[in-house]
Subunit: 151 residues, 2 copies
């Protein structure tokens, strides 16, 4: 990482993880990747992030093994897309813990725009186990929905 | 926070939490506070962090309600100590999730076996006195060896 000293070989596993995800943009890019974003423009539009900031984060996340780069054919030429890896998906508990704290200890904006999890038509309030039917949720059977997008 | 845009009223609770804990030092200060540190010098010594970096983070964490400041009587004068709040302690699941990922996806340092000291073919664990034969070690009769260099 760029902002401070190298913690990649720190004895504390929290510090070693922060060496990879200590930048807040990295966690928000991961959130979008877990929601299904794969293309540069998708990340840029949802996150409203500057091009140089985003491309630096994506390159670093590929280096660190959170994302893999795969080519796809665009209309004019071949582009890169960014696919989440197992290691990247394993950061979901970090995102869940951050979301949980935010729900309990910060104020939402006045017009609340919630997200929910869809599991084969069930609405779930948990990301790990369907709160309707109890089935274990994985990235394969779980979709994140936004209130402001028609279901 | 200072490094980027204000996310304190963002619709996403992850972003709102990152507005408070998006700086890696904040999470390491919290780790120390949860381990019992309360005094400026305790945080500074364990974290090996510059004074200005630490005092900025502590002030911000008091502002955000993660720590409270309480005076205590030192030998010469009254100092401040920093006590963790309920909201601060509620970040433990975030630290746990970070630690868990670090244990699974990053390499710990090889700190115990990474280097050893060679004294005329003896392996020594001390740099001042050969732990094999007891002879005093100096820069003339002592060589530092690394594990990844063939002995």
């Amino acid at each position: 990482m760029v902002l401070r000293q190298d913690w990649s070989r720190h004895p504390c596993p929290i510090a070693r993880t922060l060496d990879v995800v200590g930048d807040p943009w990295v966690l928000l890019v991961l959130r979008e990747a877990l929601l299904g974003a794969t293309k540069f423009d998708e990340f840029r539009t949802t996150l409203q992030v500057a091009d140089n900031v985003l491309s630096k984060r994506l390159a670093m996340m590929v280096d660190e093994g959170l994302l893999t780069k795969a080519p796809y054919k665009g209309r004019q030429r071949t582009h890169d897309q960014y696919l989440i890896t197992e290691a990247g998906a394993d950061l979901l508990p970090v995102l869940n813990a951050l979301a949980h704290w935010g729900e309990n200890h910060t104020d939402p904006p006045r017009r609340h725009t919630a997200m929910w999890i869809d599991h084969n038509g069930h609405t779930s309030t948990s990301a790990t186990e369907c709160s309707t039917c109890g089935e274990e949720l994985t990235s394969a059977n779980r979709t994140y929905k936004r209130q402001w997008v028609a279901p």
